[in-house]
């Protein structure tokens, strides 16, 4: 049996769901970021902050674009998979001959598209406030897509382990959001004392934000090659672990 039709079916189903509840999936991050821009543009209108030749709002924007991509992809995969699990509708997939790869990519592609759409909305809003040069478009595209894939996979893993709805709220609220905020969205890691810099560099999101900021503004942070390699290795590890969980039926089959 071809794996393409099952994959396409699952992806299509995910997209229908995302657009059916567009007011929950696409609009809130855009409103959030618009508010950030209004506040920060007002606060820093007279500010002389300058990081490697860029105004604070320019420095801020790549991180603000990546933030909803991270949360959108994560929440989509976790929410969609766990809702199916909660309603036992996941059995539709488990009893069918759909392969584990098709299942993973079906959820991941849906989540990546949601992440990218929210990122695009934020980009459009940001262009009302700030000019972005987009210095390395291919690197930018790679980082933003891989970031969405990484967090979609994390969301899937979370949903596989989750036993109640609270379990898919804990990780984004208590781990993902703090890591994102501490990953250098709002400040340069180099502005921290050296002992905190070391800790900040242990945060995986730092490498993604830094690489995305580099690809947009050409600002040096974490070395781009290291960041890309890190993103690829993380993607492979997360994919392999998700595949293992689905193959063995952990928390899904008795």
């Amino acid at each position: 049996m071809s794996n393409f039709i099952p994959f396409l079916t699952l992806t299509r189903k995910e997209l229908v769901r995302i657009f059916r509840i567009w007011s929950q999936t696409l609009i809130p991050p855009a409103i959030n970021v618009a508010i950030y821009f209004i506040i920060f543009s007002h606060l820093f209108s007279q500010n002389t902050f300058n990081y490697q030749g860029f105004h604070y709002l320019q420095f801020l924007t790549p991180g603000l674009i990546l933030m909803p991509v991270i949360t959108g992809a994560y929440n989509n995969a976790a929410g969609s998979f766990f809702t199916l699990k909660f309603q036992n509708a996941i059995e539709e997939l488990l009893v069918s001959p759909i392969s584990e790869h098709s299942m993973i990519w079906g959820f991941v592609v849906g989540s990546v598209i949601r992440g990218l759409l929210t990122g695009l909305l934020v980009l459009i809003i940001s262009m009302l406030f700030v000019r972005l040069p987009l210095q390395h478009p291919f690197e930018a595209l790679f980082i933003i897509m891989d970031t969405a894939i990484i967090f979609a996979l994390c969301g899937l893993i979370n949903a596989i382990y989750a036993k109640k709805f609270d379990d898919i709220g804990i990780v984004p609220n208590f781990i993902l959001t703090p890591l994102t905020y501490l990953g250098g969205v709002f400040f340069a890691i180099t502005s921290l004392p050296s002992e905190w810099q070391w800790l900040a560099k242990c945060n995986p999101i730092y490498y993604l934000i830094s690489a995305f900021r580099y690809s947009v503004l050409d600002i040096s942070g974490a070395p781009i090659n290291v960041a890309i390699l890190f993103a690829i290795v993380l993607t492979i590890l997360l994919y392999a672990y998700t595949f293992y969980l689905l193959k063995t039926g952990k928390n899904l089959r008795q």
């Binding site: 049996m1 071809s2 794996n3 039709i5 099952p6 396409l8 079916t9 699952l10 299509r12 189903k13 229908v16 059916r20 809702t83 199916l84 309603q87 036992n88 509708a89 059995e91 539709e92 997939l93 488990l94 009893v95 069918s96 001959p97 759909i98 392969s99 039926g249 089959r253 008795q254």
Partner: protein, 306 residues
């Protein structure tokens, strides 16, 4: 080639519960097979293993020649499952549930839509095709689960309590639909608590209890093995005296009902003559229980007493 070949199947759950203790079953293509047993006997575990929702501990399962350890995807493609509990996304439309299900089995969307509409029509749900699952009544949801199980045209249809909680009219509609499917060559496995249902539909039966098959055979042969029948008589009597009549075991159930047990083949003429002499008038009579129920109770009680 057998439709289903199960050998020495065991299942021990993580909590140590031994749900299956080495069951073996063979079902030929085209059979309508009933798997009966009390709650917790191992029926749903067996079905769960066939559709890979439950992982077996040991044993062998072949579905139309496809071993579930070596060729699980091909084995799964042969099965359509109607589970005991509703398990669809309640926010999806009925037609979308069927089209997506077909898609998971690799069926192109255009064909899936055609088939989905056909089965919704067959099961009286066509008018509700654009309703979400949660807008459907309990009976409609049951029929939708049957349609969903059939949309990829499986060779083997597995039904776990398909008529639980549905009204008599709908139950009969489902029965005739299943009979039609079986007449067209589809192999069907049915678990049910309605023994009348199993007696009417199944050509072969297996009784499962405490994770073991305790009896298996053709329905007609199993029922022929019953050598006694019991009747309940609604009567009017002036007194509730002790009743003794050769060849009949008679006992009062209450002031207006008698239970009479006779060997199979014994006529009832003498019973009525005797009751007349005792000044007892008989107004109506019925079997105490359905014949299969009688067999079921005996088998499970015998097994329990061991």
């Amino acid at each position: 080639m057998l439709a289903l070949n199960i050998q020495d199947l065991t299942k021990v759950y993580a909590n140590g519960h031994e749900a299956l203790k080495g069951i073996s079953l063979s079902i030929k293509p085209g059979e309508f097979f009933g798997l009966l047993g009390p709650n917790g006997a191992g029926k749903t575990t067996t079905i769960g293993i066939l559709v890979s929702l439950v992982r077996k501990t040991s044993g062998m399962v072949d579905i139309f020649g496809h071993n579930i350890d070596k060729d699980l995807a091909a084995a799964k493609a042969c099965i359509g499952l109607v589970p005991q509990e509703f398990n669809f996304n309640s926010f999806e439309k009925a037609i979308d549930i069927l089209i997506n299900e077909a898609g998971y089995y690799g069926i192109p969307r255009a064909i899936a839509k055609e088939r989905g509409e056909y089965y919704l029509e067959k099961l009286g749900l066509y008018a509700k095709r654009f309703s979400t699952a949660r807008q459907l009544s309990g009976g409609m949801k049951r029929r939708l689960m049957i349609a969903r199980a059939l949309v990829h045209e499986p060779k083997l249809l597995v039904l776990d309590e398909p008529t639980a909680g549905v009204d008599v009219e709908l139950r009969r509609l489902i029965w005739s639909f299943l009979e039609e499917l079986n007449a067209n060559g589809r192999t069907i496995i049915l678990t049910t608590h309605y023994l009348e249902e199993a007696e009417k539909l199944c050509s072969r039966l297996a009784f499962i209890q405490h994770g073991k098959i305790i009896q298996e055979g053709k329905t007609s042969e199993l029922l022929a093995g019953l050598n006694e029948e019991a009747f309940v008589l609604d009567v009017a009597a002036s007194s509730k005296a002790e009743l003794h009549c050769p060849a009949y075991q008679i006992r009062w159930l209450n002031d207006e009902q008698l239970e009479v047990t006779v060997s199979r083949g014994t006529h009832l003429n003498k019973l009525f003559e005797y009751l007349t002499t005792q000044d007892i008038a008989v107004y109506s009579m019925r079997n105490r229980v359905n014949r299969l129920e009688e067999l079921f109770v005996r088998l499970t009680q015998t097994e329990d007493s061991k």
